[in-house]
Symmetry: C2
DNA sequence: CTGAAAGCGCTTACAG
DNA sequence: CTGAAAGCGCTTACAG
């Protein structure tokens, strides 16, 4: 996989320039002609050149990349990754890419200079171009909660989202609910689709007809839970329970209910997904599907570290178990 | 300040051993006699040796150190630091020290190997020994929300905690509350003491006698808000409002009230401190004192980067403004 | 704008 | 367990 590490000598030979010239390009000096610089840079990129100082230093840095750093979600993953990395004497570099191409480039340049030993990508914050480049650099890549296709080339870590969606829905069915609303996650994420399918599968297994009006869009954030819940309440025949595909949306839904003077769980049951630490303390404490986020982080870090040491992971794809946590936001429907 | 960088040659000379031997110690090989290793390690530490590869590379890494990575608080700081660092093409290494001495050592060793360009410490997670060592290494240090003395040697970034504590209390006084409970933060933190003093100052200014029974201990976490609030409710003459020194404790307090069937704000007003993103969505949305956490992170990162480039910061100590955000958890007391 | 030469900091065999 | 020797990857003057 990783052929002999390229040195500036190699690049110089291939470019037909001297070693000092390549050195200048690598260090971003401005005393190089544009033509030469372009040629050398192209070669540098193509070969995935990485500054090596003198010789191979031990794994010392792991990169953890998010699209945004704007949810309590993120800190759980960071915690898991940091724990494993810290134990291994490895630093954890946290970045947010914000879906901007320039931002990803910036990060990649820095990553190369730092000679990072592995990358953990949360929900594929990177375009395929960048991923190819990582491959060329020989930096191992692990994806947590992948977005794209169901058969990515990279090893992935996820949770049993389908089973979790099913468990939450079964819980509501067992309480006697028949009309159960569902607030979706962003459809591009695999985990969103799996949760929705789990919901549908549970309804199906219970012979409850699926009403498409009961499934409303969302994006995992509070606001979407708020508006989604309002939408469900405005239905001619509103549901008696709401299953939100994330805890944040569940809290948004509870706020929508509170504003209408409806009580949880007396007037409406609400279930979330994630089990963020704070939902133990929401009013009322949230029934939700626990996703072992920090465990997922730990596992991803372990895998990335193994790959950096050229140890093949036991399995290239892993799903950790989700678990229904019943608290105080669910109860039988009024009419029963 | 920073004398000539030490090389392994310097260390070898001083220790009276060969260069390869020092190299072996630095790389943690085990084929060195304990006596030699000890002598060399002592010298390495004393001179603050840092691997330099070949020659000086640009600022590329900033270290952000927490005691624990267990609160939504942390992610706000991380976000601010990461933004500034990212823009500067610098990576952000996040670590949790957990108050364990060995953990700090581990981190320091890694930091040295990585040649970090600056350290941002959140609430002084490090012992003074480690701080001295950083100084020797010539790595600039910025402290966010300092713990110890009020006149630290390092530049610090904080918020106007005293003014915030006062503003929250004044708000409750204006609503007509006279018995206001206070749930404290950990007393070793400067910010905790300042919030308490702000609370007292407001009572004092309004000529409301301070009842020491109304001040209960806490540690910023949910649980402490829960038990603290229960303690206040069990008082012979309970308060009509609770000011918690953190949002998480405020949410814990709301849960304690809910369990007793008391409504917020009808039966009891609750104010928090921080304005974490999620408290906009608590039930009811929390009145709180906004602390610009991500701004504090941004500022700390900017300062650390400046110091790394030997630019003196405008002021070595800075407090960003807090701001009262009134939402739905406060109202006039019943009896008025 | 570029290269030949010297040199720096470090590591890797090898020998004992 | 330790050092003398060779060498690697890179940079820094210097010269043109």
């Amino acid at each position: 996989m990783a052929k002999r590490k390229v040195t500036i000598t190699d690049i110089a030979d291939e470019a037909g320039v001297s070693v000092p010239t390549v050195s200048r390009v690598v260090n971003g000096r401005d005393d190089v002609s544009p033509a030469t610089r372009a040629r050398v840079e192209e070669l540098l990129d193509r070969h995935g050149y990485r500054r090596r100082g003198t010789s191979g230093s031990r794994a010392a840095l792991l990169d953890l990349v998010f699209t945004d750093l704007d949810s309590p979600w993120a800190v759980e993953i960071i915690r898991g990754v940091e724990e494993v990395a810290h134990e291994a004497g490895v630093g954890t570099v946290v970045s947010a890419i914000h879906d901007r191409a320039g931002s990803a480039r910036q990060w990649l340049t820095n990553l190369r200079a730092r000679a990072s030993d592995g990358v953990i990508l949360v929900t594929s914050a990177l375009g395929p171009g960048i991923q190819d480049e990582l491959r060329r650099l020989g930096v191992p890549l692990v994806v947590v909660d992948p977005a794209g296709s169901s058969a990515p080339k990279e090893p992935t870590i996820g949770a049993t989202n389908w089973a979790g969606g099913m468990a939450a829905t079964e819980h509501l069915l067992e309480l006697g609910h028949r009309r159960i609303g569902f607030i979706q996650g962003p459809p591009r994420l695999l985990c969103s689709r799996a949760r929705l399918d789990g919901y549908r599968a549970a309804l199906d297994a219970a012979d409850v007809p699926a009403d498409t009006a009961l499934v409303v869009p969302g994006d995992f954030y509070h606001e979407a839970g708020f508006t989604g819940c309002n939408r469900l309440l405005n239905l001619p025949e509103p549901p008696t329970a709401v299953f939100a595909a994330s805890d944040q949306m569940a809290l948004g839904a509870i706020e929508a209910l509170r504003r209408r003077g409806l009580r949880v769980p007396e007037d409406m049951s609400v279930v979330g997904f994630d089990d963020l630490p704070e939902v133990r303390w929401s009013a009322p404490p949230l029934t939700t599907v626990r996703q072992p986020l920090s465990e997922m982080g730990r596992l991803a870090a372990q895998m990335a570290l193994d790959l950096a040491r050229r140890v093949q992971p036991a399995s290239p794809r892993m799903e950790l178990a989700t678990e229904l946590v019943v608290r105080a936001s669910t109860a039988p429907p009024r009419e029963v």
